[in-house]
């Protein structure tokens, strides 16, 4: 296998990998705060808000991400009347689908994190005179993130691999270029490189997350 050949298949794949990584960061940056807001909504004392949030999480987690992406990219524009306004650039539509989906998973993770916090923490803060907001922001939240971090790590590794679903909505990314090369050259090598690139990304991510977990161990 010549260097030249590797160059011709790797170059587009690395460009595709940029799309993969861009999607990853967009989803992390938007779905974590959105997921946290969903957690607050689920725990809200305003009952209708809590019900809507719960229903949202139920639907999103109970249906395949692929289906959701297809609906957002191809389904919504077919709606009579409003459909034409729902035609978005394909990559943006896919980002919205991913963010909406991952937010529901993060919401569940954060909810679990809150449940894991002992009620003595709230009581100690109250007896020391802190108000609800002070105790939530300074005592409860940091502990919630610490408890949630391993699950958040897990979810973000899954996200790296889920980005390959872009393939199904025809946004050119890593896997797309690999498949193109496979079809053109009738060779298994591009698949192998694609797998290697995913591995490198998840490996780096794992190291970063482990560092973060270590820093948040509080020992």
């Amino acid at each position: 296998m010549s260097i030249d050949y590797m160059n011709t298949i790797l170059r587009p794949m690395l460009e595709g990998a940029q799309v993969t990584i861009l999607l990853f960061f967009i989803v992390i940056v938007f779905s974590i705060p959105l997921g946290f807001l969903l957690t607050l909504a689920v725990r809200s004392s305003i009952k209708p808000l809590a019900w809507i949030a719960q229903a949202y999480i139920f639907v999103v987690r109970g249906t395949p991400l692929l289906l959701q992406l297809l609906v957002i990219c191809f389904g919504l524009p077919m709606l009579p009347g409003i459909g034409e306004f729902l035609v978005l650039p394909r990559f943006m539509a896919a980002c919205i689908g991913f963010v909406l989906n991952y937010a529901a998973y993060f919401a569940e993770i954060f909810r679990g994190g809150l449940l894991a916090i002992d009620k003595g923490q709230y009581e100690a803060a109250q007896v020391l005179g802190m108000n609800k907001w002070q105790s939530f922001s300074r005592i409860i939240l940091p502990q919630m993130f610490r408890v949630a971090l391993p699950a958040v790590s897990n979810e973000s590794i899954t996200l790296v691999k889920d980005t390959s679903l872009l393939y199904a909505v025809a946004v050119p990314e890593l896997l797309h270029f690999a498949q193109t090369a496979v079809n053109r050259d009738f060779s298994i090598v591009p698949y192998f490189f694609a797998g290697l690139i995913y591995l490198i990304i998840t490996f780096i991510l794992t190291i970063v997350l482990k560092k973060l977990e270590k820093r948040m161990k509080f020992e």
Binding site: D118, G120, A124, A125, V127, R138, Q143, F218
Partner: protein, 247 residues
């Protein structure tokens, strides 16, 4: 002078009356030991004083101000001001695990009273020295023994400069060999005239340090007296029975 005045306090969980018409008083500089069998309502009573529980009837006044007057609570800002006069030490310490010892001590006065960090650092250093932990200021709670944790919790409560300290079984979660160091700190506080209510199973401590013992059973105060009276000559049958069982 009466610092705490409780009259006809009632508290129920559903159909169960946990506190039935409790009345008692605590004077300035009193060290009150509260004893009684499990489920008698000792924790609930203590928690009612600092408004961790809402009571259903009766009155609680702290240093002359009503927290609750005949079942009617003061306004929230008033409640805050009144409960700020009390500090509480819990059985399970409830230290903040994501903060260092020093941060555990300083966070509340910094956020609640907006005190200067210079002032807080001085006070936290002094209080840590007082509980014998001046060299653990930068440790996280996970690295401390149970006895050390409870001493930090006491220092943390003192940082808010309360007039009254409440202890709910402060040594019950500790290995027997670690109770001594915590009891010693409490003894020192008593000698400095700190007003304290201590729910405890440590009869030795109650005898030695308290000037008043309250015996509770089934949501009632059955007997109150000086330690030597109550321990050596209990009047109530159930007090006698309880003391026989624990000795």
């Amino acid at each position: 002078m009466s610092l705490i005045e409780v009259a006809k306090l009632k508290k129920a969980y559903g159909d169960i009356d946990v506190l039935k018409q409790i009345s008692f008083g605590v004077n300035k500089n009193d060290v009150v030991a509260m004893i009684g069998p499990s489920g008698s309502g000792k924790s609930t009573l203590l928690r009612s004083l600092v408004h961790l529980e809402n009571i259903d009837g009766g009155s609680i006044s702290i240093a002359g101000d009503y927290l609750v007057n005949e079942g009617i609570y003061a306004k929230p800002p008033e409640i805050k001001k009144i409960t700020a006069k009390m500090g509480m030490v819990f059985q399970h310490f409830n230290l903040f695990p994501h903060l260092t010892v020093k941060e555990n001590l300083e966070i509340a006065p910094k956020m609640v009273k907006k005190e200067l960090s210079m002032v807080l650092e001085k006070r936290s250093r002094e209080l840590l020295a007082k509980v014998g932990l001046e060299n653990r200021a930068s440790a996280y709670p996970a690295k401390l023994s149970g006895g050390q944790k409870q001493r930090v919790a006491i220092a943390r409560a003192l940082m808010m400069e309360p007039e009254i300290l409440l202890f709910d079984e402060p040594t019950s979660a500790l290995d027997p060999e670690l109770t001594g160091e915590v009891l010693q700190v409490m003894k020192d506080l008593a000698e400095e005239q700190m007003t304290m209510i201590v729910v405890t199973h440590e009869m030795g401590f109650a005898k030695e340090v308290a000037n008043k013992v309250v015996f509770m059973d089934k949501g009632e105060i059955l007997e109150t007296g000086k330690p030597n009276e109550l321990f050596d000559h209990p009047k109530n049958e159930r007090t006698k029975l309880f003391l026989q069982r624990v000795n």
